[in-house]
Symmetry: C2
Subunit: 387 residues, 2 copies
DNA sequence: TTTTCTTCGGCAAACGTTTACTGGAACTTT
DNA sequence: AAAGTTCCAGTAAACGTTTGCCGAAGAAAA
């Protein structure tokens, strides 16, 4: 059987640059090249230098798939978000990408669009590509996840939810602090009639924000009117609907706090359309401090939750599990929040201070705050959606 | 030398599910399993069925790295964008991700942030992961790209720029049509004093948009005032600056056309802050039709360039090269544009029609359009940045 | 000098697929 | 019936790395 061993003809004539080419060029074995690249400390200084030089001259870089195949490390991280169209997420992605790339990782993004089927596709994609960990930034723990990923021992990090497994970490956002600051800021300005537009309440994070609001109010001895507690959906449209609902009420609040900035911005639009001025007629506070918040009119007072903190926390958690850095590591990572005061908040209309305070800002109308407000509200009610 | 052949001890005791496991379970060879999975038509119906059944029962899926390593096909596509923070891009990403995933591809996103060093890092990342093609949606052909990617025979697709190589395709956006519609819309309303805020002129796409504007104007016999041709940078802040600049002019235009929506939205903010009403005092048109455009106040009249068309065009181009579908394929892919009229455009102030037309929309002020406009402009000039 | 450690480069075995060949069985053709 | 053909499942050679093991060379100990 001599014909057997005939080397099988290779299909590609134009081979890519190979670790063997580098080895030949540097006059060492491929093992040494590999060890040099991976910075194994036992390689001789001189040899290493020669190898690096060859690598540079040949402009070689290792094949990621081959590497991953044998080492079992793909250096791939999954990032699961709810919708990339919501400005909050691109900012998060940016931060995550930056830190991941700086550490030699690549990221795989999956948008679930709040849809379980899509989510399951995302999980599958990540499983197939053998991610080393998944950051679930979807603000709601969906169960199928845990099953599929956990069963394959994939590290995960969630927002707002505890670690039921040693391979899971949690990012704990300190909603309380920021929201409390917001409520106290409003109270200090004289507001007592404060509304809260929450996110979708099936999300744990929405519940927590709402709870923090109610708690902060009660701390001040204010019991928020149930009519002023509205469930939104964290979208612009949702914010618009919520504000329309609010404006249709007989008894209006003087300030609205929103569970995220998009909601607040939607509210701002409806207020503008209805002829109500912010903050003269109504104060508005958002949450997140997305980039846009600074550029709406008026610039939005909001609670900042840093996307970079979130990104860094997620990355470090994942890495610490994947690379086995300190196994009994802290299982939580706290994300601070902080009130950023801009110009969407001021004294409530009709307050003793409001006239003078507001006077500085706008002086084109001679009617009093209160009367102009009432007039605008009446107008808004008469034609709620004229455009 | 008998000790030689002792099977080397494998490091992982808990192996992942393997093609061999499936083969054993289905009582066929691994080759048959592989062929079944890849839908090679020569496998026997019965066997194939048995294999699929085993795959299902075991919940097996192939290892992407191993696959890529031997087949040379990573099923990875690079998507190069300028900044993920600009709402235009997430919408593009969404479309691209959707179509790519539907076709079994994965995408690698790289944001250049208009920075050449970052761009080069992105290219490197894509090279290392062996993408099968790169969609360069950065709206400006940067040279280092062509060098590195072309030299490695990576297919590419650009926006607005011809194919210098058989591995490059171009997405040709029909700026002319949409912009012409915009200009004619304004002209029909009676505007003659129209400003254009362009994007950064080092980008070819910005130049094309501007050229289309000028051409459309000249077609109507209007020669735009050089003072009204402003170079922006396609950001919100840039739009604000541009509008401030415009408002500081002695002779103001009655309408502003912007090279993208973010610029227009920035302009809207400045106008609102200055007390000028849109469209009563000034008409504004954007470009892109990003999601947000519909939700600003007033809803923005804009030229739609579909992100989905762009995404689909980019993907199909790349795939046709990578998979060698029809080598002498069309080298271009045309993206249509179309004017979407919303409420940021109306008759110019002071026009015979403007009073009655505007009356429908707002009736709180009794002064004429023209006088209120002048007053507001004076105010805006006096304190250009009071907040 | 001889023996025992150390060090550190090289050899070659994985890693989990794809796919060029091979060869047996079932058909066709002569 | 013999000789081709065709069809298709199986065998094993890549793919480009990492890394366990081995052994040569030098250092240290005896």
């Amino acid at each position: 059987m001599p014909g057997r061993k005939r080397p099988r003809q290779t299909k590609r004539d134009k081979r890519r640059l190979d670790i063997r080419d580098v080895a030949k060029h540097a006059r060492v074995s491929i093992a040494t090249v590999s060890r040099t690249i991976n910075r194994v400390p036992t390689v001789d200084k001189q040899l290493a230098e020669r190898v690096w030089k060859s690598i540079g001259e040949l402009n070689y870089f290792p094949n990621t798939q081959a590497r991953a195949l044998v080492s079992g490390r793909t250096r791939l991280l999954g990032l699961l978000i709810s919708e990339i169209t919501n400005p909050f997420f691109p900012e998060l992605i940016q931060g995550f990408e930056e830190i991941a790339v700086a550490n030699g990782y690549e990221i795989l993004i999956g948008s679930t669009n709040y849809d379980l089927a899509r989510m399951s596709v995302c999980i599958r994609r990540m499983l197939e590509r053998h991610v080393e960990g998944v950051a679930v930034m979807t603000f709601g723990i969906e169960q199928p996840l845990l099953a599929e990923l956990s069963s394959r021992d994939i590290p995960m990090v969630f927002v707002d939810s505890g670690p039921p497994s040693p391979l899971v970490r949690a990012l704990i956002v300190d909603y309380r602090k920021g929201i409390r600051e917001g409520v106290q800021h409003l109270a200090a300005l004289g507001h007592r009639k404060i509304s809260f537009v929450s996110g979708p309440l099936r999300q744990r994070s929405s519940q927590l924000r709402k709870a923090a609001f109610i708690e902060s109010m009660e701390e001040l001895g204010i019991r928020p009117d149930a009519n002023w507690l509205i469930e939104g959906d964290h979208t612009l449209e949702g914010g618009m609907h919520a504000m329309e609902l609010l404006l249709s009420l007989r008894d209006l609040p003087t300030a609205v706090m929103c569970s995220n900035d998009m909601t607040a911005i939607g509210g701002l639009r409806v207020l503008a359309r209805a002829g109500l001025r912010v903050p003269d007629d109504m104060s508005v506070i958002g949450f997140d401090d997305i980039h846009l918040a600074e550029f709406v009119y008026p610039p939005l007072t909001t609670v900042r939750m840093s996307r970079n903190d979130l990104a860094r926390g997620a990355f470090e958690s994942l890495r610490s599990i994947a690379e086995n850095h300190a196994p009994p590591q802290q299982r939580h990572w706290t994300i601070p929040t902080k009130l950023i005061v801009r110009q969407s908040t001021s004294y409530p209309p009709g307050s003793a201070l409001s006239g003078s305070a507001l006077g500085k800002r706008s002086n084109s109308s001679k009617s009093t705050r209160a009367s102009s407000r009432n007039k605008a509200i009446k107008t808004a009610r008469r034609k709620p959606a004229d455009d």
